[in-house]
Symmetry: C2
């Protein structure tokens, strides 16, 4: 199975000031490519927290995405933390420097502010992934140096994509990254609703689960409406035939 | 600093089917008690994923909360994973059994369904935290058996609270748990907005940050409205006097 991990970086999420919008967006976009989000972590802006999470997650899944900690200010530390985590050297990206020069109408890199130049940094081994909407804000793409894997053809290694936290930029960056990803077997999903409390589906569902080993089932009680209960059962599989058989069986769940 | 970690359990969050509502709610409720949310993780319903995260997070922060994986069906595995992670024995909770008997109007435990009895399980070392709204759904409270700490007075140990994933139940459970928590120094926060791009505040803000070591600053560009930029700067501190001085300084950020 093709899997990914998402690392969301930002004190503003952990303090409750800002509500996360990345998790569900990544889950849906990656899911459409058959890439399963295996885990999500949210850590603070502190470089050691970011570096520790990056080291911990490297090599666990085929892809690792980060959002946040990208920007011109003192609290934007993701790129520094990345260098810290893996002993990487940071360089200024020529193409991004050119985009800054163009947008500020200056001929020389020396006329750019320190803050602008800070935004062009990437590990020397990384490449930038351009997006059409924000030419000064490419995503950073890097095969993480773990397990001796140093090439993008090493499927055992994690490939890292570093994206912004600002939602509109992250959306544009992810859209540009998606065509670069391997695609997996898409997880197909069907939902059926039953007008009962969840405890009423538990026993028959356990039997049904045993009959369909190629299908995963989730059971989700809904908020009662007008005092009426509803439990939704989701069946998921990469195997369309197995899913169809399971759904047929599921539709008769309460018929005994 | 008094810190907590939140472990959100559920395939439905990772698949994007359901949008998480717990993170921000916990952040705000805990923040009001001076408890800082240090990290959040989202993992699947798989018992080994839950157990691995529990073991990894035990002992890192004073409090560890889980949501999800609580219920009568086969995909509700948090309590089993907890037992697996720490080699704990599960028992049926007498008081919860009584609540089930009362709600179903049966005299004997033997008349309860297997699904109902499954919902009353807790590690033998744990206690239940009752809430007024859902007498059959108490939270589980347990001092995690790490570092030899086995008593609730061991402040070096993590205290675990296991809550439901269903939002209304989790809210009621957390409200019942909050009075049991130690309180820390509340982080005070002030926000000031500046009508400029974030890059314009970067240099003066770096200087201001250096002048106020007891205060943390975050800088957040806003979505432009009618082509007008805005950058919000948040100052945070547990020290009211230091915060006041920093905010006064912050208000003159662009005056040079």
């Amino acid at each position: 199975m093709l899997r990914a991990t998402l690392l969301i970086i930002g004190d503003e999420i952990l303090s409750g000031r800002t509500r996360d919008v990345h998790l569900q967006h990544f889950a849906i976009k990656l899911g459409a490519l058959g890439i399963v989000l295996a885990e999500v972590r949210v850590v603070s802006d502190a470089p050691d927290a970011i570096a520790s999470a990056l080291r911990d997650l490297a090599g666990r899944t085929r892809y690792l995405f980060t959002t946040g900690g990208i920007g011109p200010t003192h609290d934007d530390r993701t790129v520094d933390a990345l260098a810290l985590a893996f002993g990487l050297t940071l360089v200024e990206d020529e193409e991004t420097l050119a985009a800054y020069r163009a947008s500020q109408g200056v001929a020389s890199v020396d006329e750019l502010t320190a803050e602008s130049r800070r935004m062009t940094r990437r590990p020397s081994e990384a490449v930038m992934v351009q997006n059409a909407d924000f030419p000064r804000s490419p995503a950073i793409r890097l095969v993480l140096p773990t397990g001796g894997a140093t090439s993008t053809t090493d499927t055992g290694a994690s490939e890292l994509f570093v994206l912004a936290g600002f939602p509109r930029v992250a959306v544009a960056q992810l859209d540009a990254v998606l065509p670069l990803l391997e695609t997996g077997q898409k997880v197909l999903s069907e939902t059926r609703a039953f007008p009962v409390m969840e405890s009423k589906v538990a026993a028959p569902l356990t039997q049904l689960v045993a009959r369909h080993p190629a299908v995963e089932f989730g059971s989700y009680p809904q908020e009662p409406k007008d005092g009426k209960y509803e439990t939704q059962v989701v069946a998921r599989s990469t195997d369309a035939t197995a899913l169809q058989a399971a759904v047929k069986d599921l539709e008769g769940l309460l018929d005994k």
